[in-house]
């Protein structure tokens, strides 16, 4: 099992690299944030694979945490793009 | 030790009322006295490991020297600062959290003085950095913000260097307990990793304590903080850095590890000379004294760089002296500002006629700073000069004496401008009693050390011995 998982990590790293590339290249801010979303998904995948390769479910907790927190970052990015913020209602 | 525990607890109360702050400072002072008593009587073994874990495993406080002695000094300064602050700190600043920040700062400083753990030391440095930043930005004036950015950037740089050094040491030894480290590192010669770690720690701590050329950010930060805080900066913050330097160089790595000595000597000489020289041309009093604060650290480093017990002894004595004197000098500047409305020498004057008691209380730290006997500064400088001669670095002694002459020149003109010169067209106001009382506490301490230096000298000697014993 572990061997296969190790191999599965490679495409994931490739995905990570691609997302990172888009994140840095842009060209627009929106592109970067799309890439950030992608990055989150890849990281969750990593957490799942690590859980399998170590046999510890604890890494699924990490996956959960990631899912929780990155949405907020995405939202913040989006609001940043719209330049709209929670000042005074 | 229990007293320290209670004090540590109370210190952290985020109380904002001045009364709470004053009471806490008083309690800490009493606790610190008990602590020093324990430290000198029981030897350096009074140890509390928080959480009740075995020594070298948990993080502990140890009432060893010189830390315990420095805690007493810092408690004294903080208490005097609280008294002084009665009139200097108004309700607006108190609402902004002045008291809580000062208490946090005191907690950080005392934590650093007492801790037995390298990483814990780093945590206290960060706490001190943040508390100091809070005090610097308390008034949110533009100059303060600029100073704060610089302060924060350099604080983080220094902390990073320290943390990197800690990482290397942990990687090599797998432990963070100071005593264990001293034993482990003392057994083997320097390796690339430990030598780098030592240099990083020394660099980071030199940055914290303001040694040349790591000092550039420091003098202006004194101009930015509200006065009693600036006094505490001068008295405690740079000395906290130097204390850690002392523990790292003389304790953890041991005086036998001489690979740092040549660099330290150059740094010390440069600090003494450059900063004493820089002080000459300053007209802003806070910057003037700020440069002297840094120059004084140079003297301590000179003592430490001798890598002899006598040198460490000198450094510890110098620390005790300099903490009290520099805090007091800043108190004095605050009082002058209160009376004349100016921080600039050109706008001050007439203090001796309007506030003769102030003039006396101010003269004590000034003369002590200049190293005039029989005040504490003289004995401190003497010990450094002697250690330098004895250690075969006569040039360092000469540098110390030249810097002392520059200091005298600068102090004399400060006295002349602030106290003697008459202030045309403006009435010089009375200095409030609370300010005088705060100064009196510290001036009294300076006089006491000057006239009865034996007690401090013994503590310094014991400290040097305790540091030397760490590794055995």
């Amino acid at each position: 099992m572990t061997g296969i998982v190790d191999w599965l990590e490679l495409p994931l790293v490739a995905a990570l690299a691609l997302a990172g590339w888009r994140m840095v290249r842009g060209p627009s801010a929106a592109d970067r944030f799309v890439a950030f979303d992608m990055l989150t998904a890849v990281a969750v995948g990593f957490a799942a694979l690590t859980a399998v390769s170590t046999g510890r479910a604890a890494f699924l907790d990490v996956a959960l945490g990631l899912a929780l927190v990155n949405f907020v970052a995405t939202a913040a990015f989006a609001l940043f793009l719209e330049r709209n913020d929670g000042a005074g209602e | 030790m229990l007293g320290a525990g209670v004090a540590a607890l109370l210190r952290r109360r985020a109380g904002v009322a001045e009364a709470v702050s004053l009471v806490v400072h008083g309690i800490v002072l009493v606790g610190a006295m008990m602590l020093l008593g324990r430290a000198t009587q029981d030897g350096p073994l009074a140890l509390t490991v928080f959480g009740g874990w075995p020594a070298a495993i948990g993080v502990g406080f140890s009432a060893r020297l010189p830390g315990a002695g420095l805690v007493l000094v810092s408690a004294l300064i903080a208490f005097a600062g609280a008294v002084f602050g009665h009139a200097a700190i108004g309700p607006r600043r108190r609402r902004a959290g002045y008291d809580a920040l000062m208490l946090a700062l005191l907690a950080a400083v005392n934590g650093a003085f007492l801790t037995t753990d390298l990483f814990n030391l780093y945590v206290w440095f960060e706490l001190a950095l943040l508390a100091a930043l809070g005090l610097v930005t308390l008034d949110r004036r533009q100059a303060q913000i600029g100073g704060a950015i610089r302060y924060a950037a350099f604080g983080m740089l220094g902390a990073t260097a320290i943390l990197a050094g800690i990482a290397l040491i942990y990687g090599v030894t797998g432990t963070l307990d100071l005593v264990t480290l001293a034993r482990v590192l003392g057994d083997e010669g320097p390796s690339v990793a430990t030598a780098t770690a030592a240099a990083l720690l020394v660099g980071g701590l030199a940055l914290k304590s303001g040694l040349v050329p790591f000092h550039v950010w420091l003098p202006s930060s004194y101009a930015a903080a509200p006065l009693p805080a600036a006094a505490v900066f001068a008295g405690l913050l740079t000395k906290m850095g130097f204390y850690a330097l002392l523990v790292v160089v003389a304790g953890v790595f041991g005086l036998g590890a001489t690979f740092l000595t040549p660099a330290l000597r150059v740094i010390a000489a440069a600090t003494m000379l450059l900063c004493a020289l820089s002080a000459l041309a300053q007209t802003d009093m806070r910057r003037l004294i700020g440069y002297h604060v840094v120059a004084q650290v140079g003297y301590m480093a000179a003592g430490l760089s001798m890598a002899t017990p006598a040198g460490v002894d000198a450094a510890v004595f110098y620390m005790v002296h300099s903490m009290i004197v520099q805090a007091n000098l800043f108190f004095g500047l605050g009082a002058i500002h209160r009376a004349t409305g100016s921080w600039n020498l050109r706008g001050t004057g007439g203090m001796i006629r309007s506030n003769p008691l102030f003039a006396f209380l101010f003269a004590v730290p000034m003369l002590s700073l200049a190293g005039i006997p029989p005040l504490s500064g003289f004995w401190a400088k003497l010990l450094v000069v002697r250690a330098a001669f004895a250690g075969g670095a006569a040039w360092l002694a000469v540098a110390a004496l030249v810097a002392a002459l520059l200091t005298i020149v600068s102090v004399a003109s400060l006295w002349s401008e602030a106290c003697w010169k008459s202030l045309k067209g403006r009435r010089v106001r009375r200095v409030p009693w609370s300010m005088l009382a705060g100064m009196a506490i510290l001036s009294g301490a300076t006089l006491a050390i000057g006239l009865l230096p034996e007690r401090v000298a013994i503590v310094a000697k014991l400290s040097a011995a305790a540091l030397a014993r760490m590794g055995s």
Partner: protein, 117 residues
């Protein structure tokens, strides 16, 4: 075996999503790739992992997938409008029902936050 298959599929989708993020011509289209293929890939991978662990951590895994399913579309909507409004270049757009939206600056005048940076 099923677990491995699920994980492989999930990873594959993630990779495809990432390729989409690189290859698709504009931000809004890339977003399609990231949210859809990405969500599916993640869900499959986590499901496979839970299976491989014989049900251990099923709570966390299920919660994570659920949360992703809830948040990814919302994130996509947020980003989508934000991307649009920040004036990002839209390649080959054929119809724009939002063209009279006040918030979007002309694509030629580059907003300091959006635009090509």
């Amino acid at each position: 075996m099923i677990a491995t298959l699920l994980m492989a599929l999930g990873v594959l989708f993630l990779l495809i999503a990432a390729i989409g993020v690189i290859r698709l011509p504009d931000a809004l289209q890339r977003m399609h790739s990231a949210t859809k293929a990405g969500t599916l890939g993640t869900a499959l991978t986590v499901a496979g992992a839970v299976l491989a662990l014989r049900g251990e951590g099923v709570g966390s895994g299920a919660l994570a997938v659920l949360f992703l399913l809830v948040t990814l579309p919302i994130g996509a909507q947020l980003l989508g409008r934000a991307a649009y409004r920040s004036g990002t270049t839209l390649k080959g757009i054929e119809q724009d029902a939002l063209a009279d939206d006040q918030e979007r600056p002309g694509t030629s005048s580059v907003d300091r936050a959006g635009g090509d940076i």
